[in-house]
Amino acid sequence: MGKDVVADLKRDYISKLLAKGVRVDGRKFEEMRPLTIEVDYIKSAEGSARIQLGDTQVVVGIKIDKGEPFSDTPNSGVLTTNAELIPMASETFESGPPDEISIEVARVVDRGIREGHAVDLSKMVLEPGKAVWIMFVDVHVIDYDGNLFDAANIAANAAFKTAIIRGSKAGLSEDQPLPVQHQPISVTVVKIDGKILVDPTHDEERVADARLTVATLENGNLCAMQKGLNGAFTMEEVFKVVDLSRRIGADIRSRF
């Protein structure tokens, strides 16, 4: 019960401030937290980025190895996205097999970069039907203060930028850059008391009614979307969030 009492108090506090148009950390409703990006952070990876979005810290490492294509896509490299919400990052994460939350994070990040064709997988074929490059995108959350979807999405996009394919792993003499073609950027909002807040903190997520993540491309097109939590959105709210995502996504994209 103690936990719930605290949660109730937090909710009251957040609500009262929101009623005055203010967020706990002083941000505007449609404002992202400060973002810092460090690429090529992990030398053992073929690509990597460590990003800090407010107090959320995520390391993404890209590993690219030679392997076999799926039988139904002989002319395509393979993309696999995995997220580890390790217990280091939050007292609410536990060791063990991926739970629902880390699976959802991995799948939503994957959806964004896959459907947005961030990487041209057709250029990652060594021998059609036999050998292709397998790319693992591993999301390692080390400090958790909300909005893992966007933190991981941005980190993955940043890591792609400088990633290389090591020729030596397939007996080739030369390395090549990862064939990056798009930057599908996701923007996540939560809805609290009917208000739409961009880039929620952990506290905001905990009291939120509903969550919506929208990923867009350079041309403004939509490539992925995920609604979460028990609350609902009106159609107008959905269109508003789509608009927000296109606008803020362009801002973020300009940071790379």
Binding site: R107, L222, C223
Partner: protein, 263 residues
Amino acid sequence: MGGTPLPANVKLIDENGRRMDGRMPEEMRPLKIEAGVLKRADGSAYVEWGNNKVMAAVYGPRECHPRHLQNPERALVQCNYNMASFSVDERKRPGPDRRSHEISKIISEALTNVVFTEYFPRTSIDVYIEVLQANAGTRCAGLTAASVALADAGVPMRDLVASCAAGKVANTVVVDLNKEEDNFGQADIPVGYVPRSNEIVLLQMDGDLTLEEFNKGLHMAVDACKKVYQIQRDALKRRYSARAADEDVPAPIVEGAMMREGQ
């Protein structure tokens, strides 16, 4: 979307604007719903939707296991979406994969929206969705079936959730993609909709859509959901009549409520 290239001889939309199976863009596949098909479960529903066959069962409100998941103020709606190993062309290994975990989560969230969870603190309302035959759109079929099963179980609800997808095939926005359209299409937008509040409780999207296409698709999906809703209510009415005829069975609370409120 699968990104599989379209075979040369396949035309997703013909010269008359008709789809592979003869449907018009805004036309759903045939949908049949039957409530109360299982004996053991507290509530159940069976859905045949195009070539999908989906069963939903509800147990609860009942004691919540494991204990540490209990919420002292509300019931927990826990959905378990599962595909039978024979439901797809290539046998699926039994047991949950990452996809089914995700779908279970978003369906649980969508259903929680309409259940009066505050009436049953500390309990669990368990919803089991079994996809027996899959042909694209199983999460919408599952959510649609689960809503009816909850009502059949007498779980008090604000409304039913109706669900249908929109999508894009051959640059045309359509509703309720079938398997070929899903494989060779350009986008998919599964939607869960609550008619009485006019709100969206499940929403995903993948593929490539302009803003205009998305707007059109969302509207078309919601319109389709309204048709689904009518079929859900008809199924519950039939079930209610059948039950009323059988003196042994008391009328379920929720159906009464549903009928009153839904008119």
